[in-house]
């Protein structure tokens, strides 16, 4: 009798183990997980919904911030990470990771100046840097009046609004300011959190925090992703780009910045799309990068991740445009697929 009991128990254990290993080894992956950039969250979740309908595969993406996304993919707690700030080649090598751009988008300068209509005012990079450093403190400063001849600018204090949380949006913005202003580069520098120098500067949480402060405070200036400026109906400014031309923030101009970039010859796609050449390039453009392990412990999961992003490049373009992102150009898609074949070991 004792013997029998043991036998039955053994059989049950074996059966459960077999069942588990079966479900783990089954080639069908029906769920992948990712974490990171909040910039890419709206488009990834929109793609995820369409992808699930089409293929049945569920994509679970947590918008925890770029840095946290990198931490999670290094710790291998998710199948892919997403960051607005590309990882350095050394950091990728060290952790056995590879990255590629998954979506691009533009940032705009929003300002709350009474009487300022959409796209009526212009700002240049160096002047913007001076404002953000607190060197220009009034809206009727001569530097601003020179950029906007014939416009009536009020005698109003400027309030600088920035992100209070560490963010890729700030990294792209300060990268741009560092490129156009040597003084900014020396005094502040670039990063996800920087030391804002202007007196009375204000930190809002997330794009929505910056948008809400800028919308409410007279004389405020801030930087947000294009979609947030549209949603909140905030007046944004035109900019002078690196070619010295006045450009408006439009999808075409964001895409122009992306197309002028040299993706092919930059290792690990580490292109920061700010201050790109070209007459119609919008100067503050950025991209979000997807990151996976090169030699994954779970190749089937990573294959499913690549499938998802391949699908997003082939079929997700209209969704991207609807949400005011720039889809990956076809030429870059070829480079990405070549990079996958070369770097990611799926067998």
């Amino acid at each position: 009798m004792m013997y029998n009991k043991k036998l039955i128990a053994g059989a049950i254990v074996a059966a459960t183990a077999a069942a588990f290993s079966l479900s783990a080894q089954a080639g069908e992956v029906n769920k992948i997980t990712g974490a990171g950039s909040s910039f890419a969250y709206p488009i990834i979740s929109k793609w995820a919904a369409a992808y699930k309908k089409e293929t049945g595969v569920e994509v679970n993406y947590q918008s925890v911030g770029s840095g946290a996304g990198i931490k999670q993919i290094i710790a291998n707690t998710v199948n892919f990470g997403a960051s607005d700030d590309p990882m350095t080649v050394e950091a990728l090598e060290k952790n056995g990771l590879t990255q590629w751009p998954l979506i691009m988008g533009g940032e705009v300068i929003v300002a709350n100046i009474p009487g300022n209509k959409q796209g009526k005012l212009t700002i240049s990079g160096p002047v913007l840097a001076d404002i953000m450093m607190g060197k220009i403190t009034k809206w009727n400063d001569p530097a601003l009046e020179k950029l906007n001849p014939g416009k009536k600018l009020p005698d109003l204090d400027i309030t600088v609004v920035h992100r209070s949380d560490a963010s890729g949006t700030t990294a792209i913005f300060t990268n741009y300011l560092s490129k156009v202003s040597p003084e900014w580069k020396e005094k502040v520098g670039e990063g996800k959190t920087v030391n804002w120098l202007s007196k009375g500067n204000l930190g809002g949480k997330g794009n929505e925090g910056v948008a809400s402060y800028t919308g409410r405070i007279k004389g405020a200036i801030g930087y947000v992703e294009y979609a947030y400026a549209l949603q909140n109906k905030l007046p944004y400014m035109d900019m002078i780009n690196s070619a010295g031309k006045r450009v408006a923030p439009t999808m075409e101009n964001f895409a122009a910045a992306a197309s002028h970039a040299d993706w092919e010859h930059t290792p690990a796609f580490r292109v920061v799309l700010t201050d790109q050449p070209g007459d119609d390039s919008w100067p503050i453009t950025g991209s979000t990068f997807a990151i996976v392990h090169k030699n994954p412990e779970n190749p089937a999961q990573v294959k499913a991740v690549l499938d998802f992003f391949k699908w997003s490049m082939d079929h997700g373009q209209s969704e991207a445009k609807e949400l005011h992102y720039i889809p990956i150009p076809a030429s870059v898609e070829k480079l990405i697929e070549a990079s996958w074949a070369e770097n990611v070991k799926l067998k």
């Binding site: 911030g65 840095g67 560490a166 520098g189 007196k199």
Partner: protein
């Protein structure tokens, strides 16, 4: 010789007694281990904070406490601005919150008509249960604009004109500032302090109060000379509870304080507190940055501990003074 029935009864009694003793021991043991758990958790937390914060202290030394530099790009950190922000917002909260709570508690226990006592009491307890993020959102969307448009200009034009105090009431009219954070914190801690005070005032024996009234004391004299001396330790405890909450509050403060790491004398400038800085920067921090954030946490821990100790000491002094002059 007892009959078998009697023997059985005796046996049962003894048995019951021994299980009682066993239960007692068990109870004592578990109560002890629960109490020990508190010490272990506290100690473990201290240890963890110290260990993680150590790189910062080793790197910056004492300078960490007095430097106002918080520059993530250049990896330079100083805790002065968050420390000052925490102390100033909490101070504003207590300065506003304590008198108001005192008034509420006195009104409920001594002056309110019977039909008002319960509803007001329940309302206070409900306020204490409102999640802090609600206070934060209310503060950001409703209180801050209203304050910026109506109260702040008035304060700057009156208090701001005073000779030395004036410099504290300056700042841009944006409504999110150290001062706003203090006011929102005051509103958040009032229910805590008020309900502790009310409970305290209610245990003052009626005979004591009635005797004082009978001897011709005014209401104010009864409060000041009978109720307060009788309840002072509880009242101070309530204030400390509120202060502790104000210093550690994160979400509501992060909404209304402005999250700016710069030092200004004007209370209407945006600022930052220890808790709000930690919450803002935690998810993207690593290395020395992370260590500095944890060092901030350790400092908050120590400040809270110091406040508690000072309060205890103050109470002890009060007791001693009372013993000296009294019986």
């Amino acid at each position: 010789m007892a009959t078998p029935e009697e023997q059985m009864a005796l046996h049962r009694q003894l048995h019951a007694k021994s299980t009682g003793v066993l239960l007692d021991k068990l109870f004592k043991g578990s109560a002890f281990s629960f109490a020990a758990l508190v010490l272990i958790v506290l100690f473990g937390m201290m240890l963890m904070l110290l260990k993680e914060a150590w790189p910062t202290f080793a790197h910056f030394g004492f300078g960490f406490f007095i430097s106002s530099d918080w520059d993530v790009v250049n990896n330079k950190y100083g805790a002065l601005i968050p420390i000052v922000g925490t102390l100033v917002t909490s101070l504003i909260a207590v300065v506003i919150g304590v008198p108001v709570s005192f008034g509420i508690a006195i009104f409920i226990t001594m002056m309110a008509p019977a039909w008002m006592k319960r509803p007001v009491g329940i309302a206070i307890e409900l306020l204490a249960a409102v999640p802090s993020i609600i206070y934060g959102m209310w503060g950001l969307f409703y209180f801050a604009p209203w304050f910026a448009n109506y109260i702040q200009p008035f304060m700057t034009n009156t208090l701001g004109e005073l000779p030395i105090l004036g410099q504290f009431f300056q700042g841009p009219p944006i409504g999110v500032s150290i001062f706003t954070a203090g006011v929102v914190l005051a509103i958040m801690i009032i229910p805590f302090i008020a309900s502790v005070m009310r409970d305290m005032f209610e245990i003052v024996p009626t005979t004591l109060k009635e005797s004082a009234f009978a001897m011709g004391s005014t209401t104010w004299e009864v409060i000041w000379k009978v109720v307060l001396p009788y309840t002072k330790s509880g009242v101070v405890g309530g204030v400390i509870l509120g202060l502790g909450r104000a210093m550690g509050e994160t979400m509501a403060v992060a909404f209304v304080v402005g999250n700016s790491l710069e030092l200004n004398t004007g209370l209407f400038y945006p600022g930052a507190t220890i808790a709000s800085t930690m919450a803002n920067e935690f998810n993207e921090a690593s290395g020395l940055h992370m260590s500095s954030l944890i060092a901030l946490g350790l400092i908050l821990f120590v400040i809270t501990f110091l406040v508690l100790s000072i309060a205890k000491w103050f109470l002890m002094m009060l007791e001693r003074a009372h013993e000296g002059t009294g019986t």
